[in-house]
């Protein structure tokens, strides 16, 4: 079947999935009972009447299914409701403000990680059991076992506090601090702030990807068609970069796709440690404050983007491996 029909089928299929997700997103608010009661538990002096007033203001006094439908309809119109914190600002506005810092951080890290992991993974697989390979696999396993936030903290302590080379928090620093780091303009400032968080994210992502590429490459290199290619006298370059690579690249595509989908929601840990003004950091705050409209809005955005990314990944598979198009 053609690529077009494959895509159309998958898109159609996404609709019930989205519906299910929206329902679950909404229900989280009621997971442990009435949300307003939970939020105001810390305030013993509040009266039920006041609670009810809050409910009415946020439209939470209506029956739950009605609430859900109102919420859903509004979402489709682009209205994500008003935040419980941040002075009741519209959720959509807030998300828009925090969206790009997160995307910037993530995109750079993911692309760096994928770009680096392919050559490293290939080199490692080609020279299996060599010193290089063992070093790479150990560092990779280390990276996968490391708490990302801890790495962030260590880097801050080392490079910011002790060596004073790089700023420790935020996306931009106040201009009067620039001379401390030898910064002369806003671009450099932003760049300086990017280095540490990107390093953390890239390292972890890289570790994971290298393992994937290497494992897949190893398996592919054992296959008969690679032996046949070598037996035909093909140069090693052709064998590895044409014949082996295309067959081993699928997990990297998967990872790329999933990571891109998670770009918007990813890295709450790193953003927290570096106080990066992105969605991840703000979500943590929202979760702490139980700011439900914000929570649900961010969740929906993230989930939709993940679904879209999954779709793109599936389409790429069909493009790369012609056998899949037959299904």
């Amino acid at each position: 079947m053609s690529l077009i029909r494959y895509i159309a089928r998958r898109l159609l299929y996404m609709v019930p999935l989205l519906l299910g997700i929206s329902i679950i997103s909404f229900i989280t608010m009621y997971a442990a009972g009435d949300p307003i009661t939970i939020i105001t538990m810390g305030k013993p002096t509040i009266t039920e009447a006041q609670r009810q007033a809050i409910r009415i203001y946020y439209g939470l006094d209506k029956p739950v299914p009605v609430q859900y439908l109102n919420w859903l309809v509004n979402i489709l119109k682009g209205d994500f409701g008003k935040s419980f914190t941040y002075g009741g600002q519209p959720v959509r506005l807030l998300i828009e403000q925090w969206f790009w810092p997160t995307v910037e951080l993530q995109l750079i890290s993911i692309l760096l990680a994928v770009a680096l992991s392919i050559p490293i993974g290939i080199m490692s697989a080609k020279n299996q059991y060599s010193k290089r390979d063992i070093t790479v696999t150990s560092i990779a396993l280390f990276g996968v076992s490391m708490p990302t936030f801890w790495l962030g903290v260590i880097l801050i302590i080392a490079f910011s506090y002790n060596l004073g080379w790089l700023p420790s928090a935020g996306a931009v620093g106040a201009p009067y601090l620039w001379p401390l780091f030898g910064i002369e303009n806003p671009t450099l400032d932003h760049l300086a702030h990017l280095i540490l968080p990107v390093t953390v994210l890239t390292y972890v992502s890289l570790a994971q990807n290298v393992r994937l590429v290497r494992a897949n490459m190893l398996e592919v290199l054992r296959s008969d068609y690679i032996l046949a290619a070598r037996a035909s006298g093909l140069s090693e370059r052709l064998v590895i970069y044409k014949h082996a690579l295309r067959n081993s690249i699928t997990p990297v595509i998967t990872y790329l796709g999933l990571s891109l989908g998670a770009v918007v929601g990813g890295a709450p840990m790193t953003e927290y440690v570096f106080n990066w003004p992105g969605l991840g950091r703000r979500f943590v705050d929202a979760a702490m404050n139980l700011d439900f409209p914000l929570i649900m809005g961010i969740t929906m955005i993230i989930t939709i983007m993940t679904l879209v990314a999954n779709l793109i990944v599936d389409i790429s598979y069909a493009f790369i491996d012609p056998r899949i198009r037959v299904e």
Partner: protein, 317 residues
């Protein structure tokens, strides 16, 4: 001796060819896996003897704050305090030692819940197939698409507040409520990917001939699942379970670090949270607990990789 008896005797005298014996021999040859086993055993040892190994008792025992009373708050590592003291006046070394108990508690319990759910769902989906499989896989997909860390935080927060304080009794053991809530939520949000793996394995084994043979002999479905399919899948389950323990420890640390953990249970992540704002001056209190996490997770990952190699041999050269 008849020819038959001779062959039997020879077979017996050859090294035991049972699946597990072979796997164990393979495992022993894998140095990384053995290293992992040693690390995990060290962790367990520390957890069992934590009261003997630590310098000061665990919180909430007031003696844990002895450094504070001695005016030794926020001091760097020294002979008295191998890992230094924290911002609130506890001995970091003791905190880390005591935290090992929580690490294992969290790791194991989360894995039990996750694997339990994953096996049940995966088995039903993989074995019965068709529409049952379809529905279950859609549900699994929904769980996989959600940003799990974020939702975990929300749910932990909701339930922590509504459950309040106090202590819980479970089979006569007092369990820390806050931490147990975290554990349950971690368990519930993690089953999806493991369920997929279990289902895949079920599909693979279901097509094997001996299952068809059993069916032809009239064995009931449950009997087939439990007595025939599951034992074949056991090795994959063991490997995934080990890796899940590693992942669970990491997740709990993340949740506690962000401040969503139970302030009364001093897990390693909790220590990191307590000293985060002071990390500039009390860096050792951030360094060592993190190192403990790294050590434990690394150990379980090595062990899991080693087990995977030993139990599922591919043409390893």
């Amino acid at each position: 001796m008849t020819k038959q008896e001779k062959t039997k005797a020879e077979t017996a005298s050859r090294r035991s060819a049972s699946q597990w014996a072979v796997a164990w021999r393979r495992f022993k040859r894998n140095r990384a896996g053995v290293a992992g086993l040693i690390m995990v055993s060290a962790l367990v040892f520390i957890a069992i003897f934590h009261n003997l190994l630590a310098l000061y008792p665990a919180r909430p025992d007031p003696k844990a704050f002895t450094p504070f009373y001695k005016g030794d708050t926020a001091k760097p590592p020294s002979a008295n305090y191998p890992f230094g003291t924290s911002a609130i006046g506890t001995d970091v070394f003791s905190d880390v030692i005591h935290g090992s108990v929580y690490a294992i508690y969290v790791g194991v319990l989360v894995t039990v819940i996750t694997m339990g759910l994953a096996i049940v769902v995966g088995a039903i989906a993989g074995y019965f197939g068709k529409w049952v499989d379809n529905i279950l896989m859609r549900i699994t997909e929904i769980f996989l698409v959600f940003p799990s860390l974020l939702l975990i935080l929300v749910f932990v927060r909701i339930f922590s507040i509504s459950a309040g304080g106090g202590s819980w009794q479970f089979l006569g053991i007092t369990v820390p409520p806050g931490l147990t809530i975290v554990i349950f939520i971690l368990g519930v949000f993690n089953w999806a990917s493991n369920a997929r793996m279990v289902r895949g394995e079920f599909l693979r084994v279901r097509e094997m001939e001996f299952v068809q043979a059993e069916k032809a002999l009239g064995a009931s479905n449950w009997r087939i699942i439990f007595r025939h399919v599951l034992p074949n899948i056991l090795s994959s389950i063991i490997v995934v379970a080990t890796l899940t323990i590693a992942y669970a420890i990491l997740l709990e640390a993340a949740v506690s670090f962000l401040g969503f953990g139970d302030p009364n249970t001093i897990t390693w992540g909790q220590i990191l949270q307590e000293n985060f704002s002071e990390m500039r001056t009390v860096w050792w209190a951030e360094f060592f607990p993190g190192l403990a996490i790294l050590f434990s997770v690394f150990g379980f990952n090595l062990l899991g990789d080693g087990l995977s190699d030993a139990l599922n041999p591919r043409l390893r050269e």
